[in-house]
Amino acid sequence: MNILEVQNLRVSFPIAGGVFARKIAEVKAVDGVNFELVKGETLGLVGESGCGKSTVGRAIVNILRPMVYGVEISGKIVYRHAAGDVDLASLSRPKMRPFRPDIQMIFQDPYSSLNPRMTVGQIVEEPLRIHTKLPAKERKDRVSWLLGKVGFSREQTNRYPHEFSGGQRQRIGIARALATHPKIVIADEPVSALDVSIQAQVVNLMQDLQEEFDLSYIFIAHDLSVVRHISERIAVMYLGHIVEIGPGALIYKNPLHPYSRALLSAVPRPDPEAAKDRRIRLAGEIPNPIHKPSGCVFRTRCPIAKPSCAEEVPPLEFKENRWVACPWT
């Protein structure tokens, strides 16, 4: 059962220039993305930096329009909740408000994502203050309960974020995201800013909370080993397009799209002998997102590109139990 369906999502950021800061170009960060999130699952969204995976996450929690002036969003983000379907992408900020408690986000940078002037308690309390009418006493109780869930003691409620380490701060971010008892949590590279030893803690905590709170995750990452650990299905993105999406185990074992193959071959394996010939090195650089290649965006670096690849964007086709956007596999 799908809880969220993203249909043909396009996000473009304007590039302003000239005396009156007119739009002179645009970056199509997300260019026609389709996927769905099944209730209770974890969908891993992977791809290299700048491929638009964070933008997809921010579009779903609907914070792009207030944060980036002039951003253009089209397509649908259908949220299926008890009372019916609603297209989040079309909602104005006041209309979005009732759905905000259901869809929350964990941010990548544990330093800039917590307001340095607020105590840990105030940070976690904020969503409750906005969305509930709980009396102060009950709110405080819920805050300490939430912080307890992520491993903090009651005394630490009145501390400031700068008194905690990166991993601890990320747990504060998790507690904040869970405060309103959300159904969907977008985790935007929640562990990439942390040490490897701390990463495991946070990922395991997220998995425990998923069971306890019945959450559906969209787990955005560039670190494939972390995604593999946590997600049932993965979607591979390149330059604003999803190139392959399907069950994680399948894609890991046998990636079909040439980009997925190259990306997965970059995962380090603890076997020096096997590593040498396995690695696929891509030629060239990621194209400038302002001037994307015509047709298949990956064709400029693709080892199996053919002249016809330049003609039209290859659609996702169902092959070997997953969807792939390449006709030659």
Binding site: I63, G70, Y111, S112, S113, N115, E126, Y160, E163, R176
Partner: protein, 379 residues
């Protein structure tokens, strides 16, 4: 999937107590900065001194005044500081307000039950002491420690009251222009886009108006106007000058606040606040503003200096506060006209210099205490 997850999951380690937990209570960034400010002795003591002097200056009517605090006359109590009594009340042969210094002396000579308590320095800043020997300005003497000005008004009294007037004026201009400037800067930086471009250009145009000329023109238009038939008088007043200065003063801080908001808005905690459904006003004032106050606080002392300077300049040129108001600029102007009278030249300048020096010391310490590099990791 997750073959390794179920079997050997490491337990969540207990969160290590942060270093501040060893007995010391948790401190906010602001507290830390205030603590740092207190260690910067020169600025901190300047601050205490100025604060004490300013607080004391509100009690000036009790300390420096020509009216008696209490009068005991024929078994009755009188409080001239709070009520007006005609001279005839005390059987004094003058019109209007009695001369309480003479009254006290008369009572002393008469002996008996009548007496009057005068403030420690019994001269008013607006009172012309025409009975002094010689012609004004009078040089310093034991009674008039700083001498008198060209209308025989006591300079010490005028400087003391002028201190209160200058600082109050300057703080009010600061408060009003900050309220406007911070709000405008916040909106420009937060909403960005067309509003930002347009707002910035308007501010640039507005700020290129020549301040002094405009004020001189406005002040000379708003001369005392007597409306026939009624007793209304319109003239450049204290509040009017505050308004005029504010109109030119609010722009400076908008640039800094706008920049701070522009930077802070891109940070994830703002994204988180939007994601949890906070309103624009909530985000601007609850989330971003507390993180954007560094330039606001660091500039405040220097802007106060600027405002005092502006008021003194206007008074000096004669476009400032209305006539009998005790003002430093007016005294400095008198010094200019009486260059041979050293007390008229030197003392008002010294008062101005010392006050501005104290504020600049405070400003330096504040700037150092609020240096964002100090805690740059936390920003």
């Amino acid at each position: 999937m997750n073959q390794d997850a179920g079997t050997s999951r490491p337990e969540l380690p207990p969160i290590a107590e942060p270093e501040t937990a060893t007995g010391r209570p948790s401190v906010s960034l602001l507290r830390r900065r205030l603590r740092k400010f207190r260690t910067l002795k020169r600025g901190y003591y300047s601050f205490l001194l100025l604060l004490a002097a300013y607080a004391l200056s509100f009690l000036l009517p009790l300390l420096v005044n020509d009216k008696a605090l209490f009068v005991r006359y024929e078994g009755q109590w009188y409080f001239p500081l709070w009520r007006y009594y005609p001279a005839a009340t005390f059987n004094q042969p003058t019109l209007g307000e009695p001369n309480y210094r003479d009254l006290a002396q008369t009572f002393r000579q008469q002996g008996g039950g009548n007496w009057a308590i005068l403030p420690p320095f019994p001269y008013s800043p607006t009172e012309s002491l025409l009975d002094l020997p010689g012609s004004p300005p009078h040089p310093p003497s034991w009674q008039h420690i700083f001498g008198t000005d060209d209308r025989a008004r006591d300079i010490f009294a005028r400087l003391a009251y002028g201190f209160n007037v200058s600082l109050t004026f300057s703080l009010l201009v600061l408060a009003i222009s900050y309220a406007i400037g911070i709000t405008v800067g916040a909106f420009l930086g937060y909403f960005g886009g067309k509003l930002d471009i347009l707002g910035q250009r308007l501010i640039e145009i507005w700020s290129s108006l020549p301040f002094l000329y405009t004020i001189i023109i406005v002040s000379s238009i708003v001369v005392p106007i007597y409306i026939p038939g009624r007793n209304l008088v319109l003239q450049p007043s204290f509040w009017m000058l505050i308004l005029i200065l504010t109109v030119f003063d609010w722009m400076g801080i908008t640039y800094y606040v706008r920049g701070e908001f522009y930077r802070e808005k891109a940070k994830d905690y703002v994204g988180a606040a939007i994601a949890m459904g906070a309103s624009d006003a909530g985000i601007i004032f609850r989330h971003i503003l507390p993180n954007s106050l560094t330039p606001v606080i660091s500039f405040a002392p220097f802007l106060i200096v600027g405002n005092i300077g502006a008021l003194v300049a206007l008074d000096f040129l004669g476009f400032g506060l209305p006539a009998p108001t005790p003002s430093w600029g007016e005294l400095i102007g008198q010094g200019m006209e009486n260059l041979t009278k050293w007390w008229l030249v030197f003392l008002p300048l010294a008062a101005l210099f010392l006050t501005l020096l104290l504020i600049v010391f405070i400003g330096e310490a504040v700037r150092e205490a609020f240096d964002p590099r100090e805690y740059s990791r936390l920003r």
